[in-house]
Amino acid sequence: MMSITFHQAVFYFFSAIIVIFSILTVTSKRILRAATFLLFVLLGTAAFYFILNYAFMGALQITLYAGGIVVLIIFSILLTSHVGERFEPIGWGKMIASALVSLIGAGFTLYVLLNADFIPTQAPLPDASVKNIGTALLSYERNGFVLPFEVVSLLLLAAIVGAIVIARKEPHDTENPNNE
């Protein structure tokens, strides 16, 4: 009964990687190291998709998150702060309090999740080929995603316009002594 299959072993291995590197990400004193640790968390998540046979999502995860977003984060770190800069050390009181809160929260959530009786689905596994994903993305029937797909572009547009407004240099910026 207790024998662990190969599948499970791989799952636990990647889970361990994710947990360890997540903790390192938030406790690291150097911001560039934190970003690098985050990269491993994202790669570990990609591994989960491959284990689930969802290769398309795994590839997306690697290209978008590990490839794109982490690079973006590192770029913005290099452009805005000194690489060698360290965070101020956090006081023990804060450290213990936040650790306690996280542990209690995680423990409670785990307790509920482990005791929940999930209903195993009877439906056959959907075919996650790129063709089907593409069809679902543009389908307006049930379980189609054309509406969210289109609406998200609104968010992107507003965010891009906003980012330009915020980042643009303006003559008034330098006049005000309040601005560093």
Partner: protein
């Protein structure tokens, strides 16, 4: 799937078209005429607001992912009225030299966040709900940081962004648990499959409610509110405190009444506790505030606590009183913010002390402020009295007599600090009161509309009956 999509989604489509037109005009007109885009946007949005009142039956689209009923259209109309007033009030601010060269982007982002609220209200599944929520919150951070030449505004933007990311994280985790429990994120599937309260569902609901409580700034999720409200430009603060808040209150009502009615026993106690904590803390902290924006921030926290009372009456009456309350809250709070905006635009002052002797020099603005504060605290004959009265009636009908008692106690506390401002304006002596303010015609017409609204929405029963008729079709 035919052309019916255009007629069913007409409010969303109309709004998105207006937002894109603003962006387009900003690109094509020459520098001289950039300011005129505001007029076009105002006119188009006014038409859009009026068009929303044409009777319409609504319908479902995209396999239930989007649904709109008369009640949803009514909610969007209420928000439209508020946004129209905010636009009117923003006219003078958009002309200030630091803002003028990015005023049209401001309009475009503001209208986009409103479209996010529309999608959130009309969502038929958690994916659309989530995307709507994000459209309504990420660009808000940009609006909060719009006066980026002030470090306080930058701080407000980053504080809002981080807090909203945290709350979204909570919310998403809750949604993933719902998916784990039900195997679907469509609202109709959830109501069908989740018939029994289980620990898993309770946990999911807790995360979902915490996420929404952040957005509604309920105690104990309110810590970001005062700083963000204080740092943001006055127009954005008023938008935050009435439109964002109203939209989330509506969505909370829709979710709790239509998606999770079977778990009434689970969430009613949570709402009860949140309501009591929010009313008390919001009111007690409001007493201590010296800055008018912080003061209105805490007062709006307390008002959110009152809105929760309506959620405890779980049939149509609950929805009716929430819409009615939010409508009157929008009018009264915008009147107060409008006066504060006029004072700030003319003198740059935003402390309550500065309002000493305000009545001597600006009798009309002082009277409007007094009316607004009376309406917020619920003194008859202004509309705020009726909205609070109906809210308390709904809670009492559901059997929550103690809660109504606590709410009445809180109304009294609120009355005390609202009257402090009134006292400052009318009684406190001031050798150097603020000069007489002459604000532009947009702000004056906005204040005029709010004052009319504060009187009429309370006295005219057709308003309440109209809301009732729309909700009954739900």
């Amino acid at each position: 799937m035919t052309y019916s999509i255009i007629s069913i989604m007409r409010q969303e489509l109309g709004l998105v078209v207006i937002a894109l037109l603003v962006l387009f005009f900003d690109l094509v007109v020459n520098e001289k005429n950039k300011q005129k885009v505001f007029l076009i946007a105002l006119a188009l949005f006014g038409l859009h607001t009026l068009a929303g009142f044409f009777p319409f039956e609504g319908g479902n689209l995209f396999g239930g992912m989007y649904s709109t009923q008369p009640v949803h259209i009514l909610m969007k109309n209420v928000l439209n009225i508020g946004v129209f007033l905010v636009l009117l009030m923003s006219a003078s601010w958009l002309k200030t030299p630091q803002i003028a060269n990015k005023s049209n982007e401001f309009l475009m982002i503001l209208l986009t966040t409103l479209s996010g609220m529309y999608f959130m209200i009309s969502a038929g599944d958690f994916l659309m709900f989530y995307i709507g929520l994000e459209i309504a919150s990420i660009p808000m951070a940009i609006l909060a940081a719009y006066e980026k030449f002030k470090s306080r505004s930058e701080e407000a933007g980053i504080k809002f962004l981080l807090n909203s990311a945290l709350s979204t994280g909570f919310l998403l985790f809750g949604l993933s648990l719902f998916y784990a429990a039900a195997g679907s994120i469509y609202f109709d599937d959830l109501t069908r499959t989740l018939s029994q309260p289980s620990p898993l569902v309770a946990l999911a609901l807790t995360f979902l409610l915490s996420g929404l409580a952040f957005k509604l700034s309920l105690v104990p999720f309110h810590f970001w509110t005062a700083d963000v409200y204080e740092g943001s430009p006055m127009v954005v603060t008023s938008y935050f405190s009435v439109i964002s808040k109203g939209a989330v209150a509506f969505v909370l009502g829709i979710l709790l009444f239509k998606v999770f009615p079977v778990f009434e026993g689970l969430w009613q106690n949570v709402i009860y506790t949140l309501a009591v904590a929010t009313m008390f803390l919001g009111n007690l902290f409001a007493i201590r505030q010296k800055n008018i924006k912080r003061f209105l921030a805490f007062s709006s926290i307390a008002q959110a606590g009152f809105i929760l009372l309506g959620l405890l009456h779980t049939d149509n009456l609950g929805i009716i009183v929430i819409i009615y309350f939010v409508l009157i809250y929008i009018l009264s709070n915008l009147a107060a913010f409008g006066v504060a905006q006029a004072v700030y635009a003319a003198s740059g002052k935003e402390n309550i002390e500065d309002y000493n002797g305000f009545y001597k020099t600006n009798p009309r603005l002082a009277l409007i402020m007094m009316l607004a504060l009376f309406s917020l605290s619920g003194i008859p004959p202004v509309a705020g009295f009726f909205s609070k009265f109906f809210l308390f009636t709904a809670a009492a009908k559901a059997g929550y007599y103690w809660l109504v008692f606590i709410a009445v106690v809180n109304t009294t506390i609120a009355l005390y600090y609202y009257l402090l401002v009134v006292k400052a304006m009318f009684i406190n002596p001031n050798p150097e009161p603020l000069p007489t303010i002459r604000s532009d015609k947009y702000l004056r017409s906005a204040l005029f509309i709010t004052v009319i609204g504060i009187f009429l929405t309370g006295i005219l029963s057709p308003v309440f009956e109209y809301i009732q008729a729309m909700v009954d079709k739900f």
